[in-house]
Symmetry: C2
Subunit: 185 residues, 2 copies
Amino acid sequence: MPTRGNLPEALVQAGIALLDEDGTEALSLRRIAARAGVSHAAPAHHFGGLPGLKTAMAIRGFQQFQQHLMAARDAVPADAPPFQRLSTVADAYVRFAGMRTGLFQLMFDQLAASDPDLLHTALGSYLLIKELCAPFVDGRPAVAVETAVWSLTHGYAALNLDRPRPSDTQVATSALVDALRLIID
Amino acid sequence: MPTRGNLPEALVQAGIALLDEDGTEALSLRRIAARAGVSHAAPAHHFGGLPGLKTAMAIRGFQQFQQHLMAARDAVPADAPPFQRLSTVADAYVRFAGMRTGLFQLMFDQLAASDPDLLHTALGSYLLIKELCAPFVDGRPAVAVETAVWSLTHGYAALNLDRPRPSDTQVATSALVDALRLIID
DNA sequence: CCCAGAGGGTTTACAATGTCAAGATAAGAT
DNA sequence: ATCTTATCTTGACATTGTAAACCCTCTGGG
């Protein structure tokens, strides 16, 4: 379905779908274009080239990422202890990386390219982590706690990318929760 | 200098040099072969193809990585507190990632491919971290502490890949050291 | 002495990729 | 009605990884 009238949107969706289904190495400009039902040169007109399309996909990825984390945060009861909320979101972080490996890698690859729009979108996820860390900054500088939590979670996710996690068990990331506890209190 | 008589070695060296000088996107089988002074089909004879050559490069990368970490460890005085030794090596970890970004990315990309030789080589670096963590496992399970330190350090390195660090200042990674302290004691 | 075979490299060919230039097509504006 | 502009296609090109066929050069057995 070519989705005429909104080709950029269709291309981003096709690219992410291709990434989810066939992995990073199967991603190519021509395949994305074919999937969106247009010629291989069409993407250049909207994104300049493959790099541009990839950053657009990364931006969309960070939006979905933040949405995923927020859903996890909102799923924990309002009267639950703050640490449970933090660890649940961290678990969601790792789970996202495990379930959507290709997109996750693309996101943080492109992040190094320092596109302003991309950075702005990624900031949203950071602010979410920041908010969850707030209850745990006692006298310490907030940035230190946030960096610790963010780095720990991201490192855990990155190092376990080869082991995709099932979507039902919480046990998989218990080591991460333990490590978070070490940092927090 | 074609380095006749040991082409596999020459190819790995050429590939890593290309990675260090021109970055990930400039890495190609044909360029590596040209740099080693052979035809573009020669690598296939020894490594089967580009994937094989890349895992060989990743193995060499982990060897250099471990060597880099060990050098940092041995540079701190023998009577220094264990935490200083740990934080110094963690600093070296981040510095390696910042200075040799392309190789670092390749290493952990290929790690997901689960090549036995590569895993065995990478294990050496893990054992080094493990050894440095030993003084800090009080009653806690050792694996938890190691995973925490390793994940935190790796995450910090990965998230700061775009900001290459100067080789002289220790200040850059003070946030990491603070976070490590949070974990350790 | 010679020559058969094998390992190491080259040459050639091929399909796939990203990018660019030129053209086609349709919708609006003047 | 004609011009313009955005959108997309077509065609071409250089570069890439891979595979097959060929060619050297050395070594070991007769």
